[in-house]
């Protein structure tokens, strides 16, 4: 198992390093990730979404739907814990949290 894990890790790692070769320079303000979609957020945040905090405007407005999904994830996790750890009403010997 250990050997197998090590092998997996090495292969994955090599793959990731290989892919990183074509990454843009770190911190380059004109890297593709920063010029295509995100400038709109910076420029429009106050006029379109009404807040100077760009992250807030993206979280709550531009990509608000993701955030709804995110809250749902939390809700799911909560319900999951209730589902899994709920005390059995007549269960015996089941110590629970």
């Amino acid at each position: 198992m250990k050997v197998f894990a090590l092998l997996t890790v090495i292969i994955t790692g090599v793959m990731l390093v290989y892919g990183a070769e074509d990454f843009p320079k770190w911190g380059d303000p004109y890297q593709p990730g920063s010029v295509h979609v995100s400038p709109r957020y910076t420029q429009g945040t106050y006029t379109e979404a009404g807040t100077p905090n760009i992250v807030t405007s993206v979280v709550a407005d531009y990509r608000g739907y993701d955030t709804m999904g995110e809250t749902t994830v939390i809700f799911t996790a909560g319900m999951a814990c209730i589902l899994m750890l709920r005390k059995k009403k007549r269960g015996e010997g089941e110590s629970n949290v």
Binding site: M15, L16, Y18, G19, A20, E21, D22, F23, P24, Q31, P32, G33, S34, V35, H36, V37, S38, R40, Y41, D61, Y62, R63, G64, Y65, D66, G69, E70, T72, V73, F75, T76, A77, M79, A80, C81, I82, L83, M84, R86, K88, K89, G91
Partner: protein, 499 residues
């Protein structure tokens, strides 16, 4: 009201109902079941509306919050996910109808959160299917996964351990997937699938894109249980509560298969996935290995649900094989198999659940005389089993037929042999059960004089479980008979035009 709103309603209705079920269930437990049904029914109606709109007006684009893509999140429904949506919501509805008695028997004290999570699972799966945004896929993928972990963990004895393995493997899969998004994002700057499909062709030789693609593929392969990354699957399906198996087996892996098609042929174009990198070829061989290994392992099992789980692995092999063949016939077969397999595996797991419900066991060597006890259930089982083997006119035959056609088109003789051999292997493990259930004279356990043959009383499932089983079984046959209609009206347009 325009029909476009259906695209978002189909997700929101079960989502909101999940909250309502959790709250209301605290006071009125009986309300959970009808509420769940109502929500899923609305979802189903919406999916029909969506498919109808897609057929009559073309692809639906729905901009959430009014932000146009690529800045906002967009829902895109075309033929491909249109038919997936109908399938998902229909099977969810049918399984939900079935669920009442089974859950009341297996986990009565956890009924309220169970239904809530059940709805969340459906929400997640539908969300993955409708969205046109890579990261949104990840969010809904996590909703569905977390729901699935929990639904599995509340099963019988081995379930928590199975669920934990699933968590680890599932998280690896999901992490690979969103690491893949990162690798693509860093060189493109976009998350919208349609936008990316415009940008990516210029970057096809970029190493980050190549690795991103590989990460997507591996991540999704883990999530759908493609051999040899299937290790989490058999235990999970086996120990989960019957209803959970019946909803996860037909739906979760199919949605992942859909995602794979989406990424291979929409996000990246077929030219990239087929010609530039040999990923489809590798996939076909992996899938062929999965078909054979899954079938052989299935033969080795005596536990019905575990056997079905291995058979699922083989069938995922079929679907991926069709994707990997990367021609019109192969992909048609693959998409058709997604549909057919969802119906037949659904039927089989519902039957397995029914047998658990009535007999409390699922060891296939003890199935003697089951046809007398539960004639209709076994009839449904037989139909689904014949479909798995590939006997016309059931659906399974036609998807296999298209896959064989695809293999012939690709001149891949080895895969034809694999496909044909596997249907014989399927015959071995399904006829073993049919034989047991229909033929061997039932020997009653409490007979004192060494097994007298006692007349077995008919003891059929309650109607709320029997009818959904029979509906799915009928679906298996109808899908077969009307497969050409489905292909002509829907799947034909779901296959990329360049094929």
């Amino acid at each position: 009201m325009t029909y476009e709103h259906f695209a978002v309603l189909i997700v929101i209705v079960p989502l909101m109902s999940a909250f309502v079920v959790a709250l209301l269930g605290w006071f009125k437990r009986w309300a959970c079941y009808p509420l769940t049904l109502a929500a899923l029914f609305v979802s189903f109606i919406c999916s029909l509306g969506i498919l109808n709109t897609v057929i009559s007006k073309g692809t639906i684009h729905y901009h959430l919050g009014g932000w146009e893509p690529p800045w906002g999140i967009e829902y895109v429904v075309d033929y491909l996910n249109g038919f997936m949506l109908v399938m998902l919501s229909f099977i969810a509805l049918v399984v939900a109808i079935y669920s009442k008695k089974s859950i009341e028997q297996e986990i009565p004290e956890r009924l309220v959160p169970y239904y809530s999570i059940f709805l969340l699972l459906v929400t997640g799966l539908i969300g993955i299917t409708v969205t046109g945004d890579l990261f949104n896929v990840f969010v809904f993928l996590e909703i569905a996964s977390l729901a699935a972990y929990a639904l599995i963990a509340v099963g019988e004895d081995g379930a928590p351990m199975a669920a934990f393995n699933y968590v680890i493997m599932g998280t690896i899969g999901a992490c690979f997937y969103y690491l893949g998004i990162g690798y693509v994002y860093i060189v493109t700057g976009s998350l919208n699938m349609a936008d990316l499909s415009q940008i990516l062709p210029n970057l096809y030789h970029n190493k980050a894109v190549l690795v991103g693609f590989a990460l997507f593929t591996v991540g999704i392969a883990v999530k759908m249980g493609l051999f040899p990354l299937h290790v989490w699957l058999p235990d999970s399906y086996t120990y989960a509560p019957s209803v959970t198996s019946a909803v996860i087996a037909p739906m979760f892996t199919k949605v992942m298969a859909y995602l794979m098609v989406r990424i291979f042929f929409t996000l990246f174009n077929p030219h990239f996935s087929i010609d530039l990198i040999p990923i489809t070829q590798i996939l076909t061989w992996v899938a062929a290995g999965g078909i054979i290994a899954g079938s052989i392992l299935a033969i080795a099992q005596t536990d019905l649900k575990r056997m079905l789980a291995y058979s699922s692995i083989a069938n995922i092999g079929y679907i991926v094989l069709g994707i990997g063949l990367a021609n019109r016939m192969g992909l048609t077969g693959s998409l058709l198999h997604i549909l057919n397999h969802a119906f037949m595996k659904g039927t089989l797991f519902l039957v397995a659940g029914g047998i658990m419900y009535k007999m409390g066991m699922r060891d296939i060597t003890q199935f003697r005389g089951l046809h007398k006890k539960m004639p209709f259930t076994m009839a449904a089982f037989t139909i689904a089993a014949l479909s798995m083997i590939g006997i016309p006119p059931t659906g399974g035959f036609f998807s296999k037929f298209y896959l064989v056609l695809g293999a012939i088109d690709a001149r891949q003789w080895a895969f034809i042999v694999v496909l044909l051999t596997s249907s014989l292997l399927n015959a071995v493990y399904f006829f073993r059960i049919i034989e047991n259930a229909y033929l061997e004279p039932p020997v009653t356990a409490y007979a004192t004089d060494g097994g007298t043959h006692e007349e077995i009383k008919r003891d059929e499932l309650p109607l709320s479980m029997l009818i959904p089983t029979l509906i799915l079984a009928a679906g298996v046959v109808l899908l077969g008979i009307f497969n050409e209609r489905i292909i002509a009206f829907i799947i034909r347009f779901a296959v990329p035009a360049s094929f």
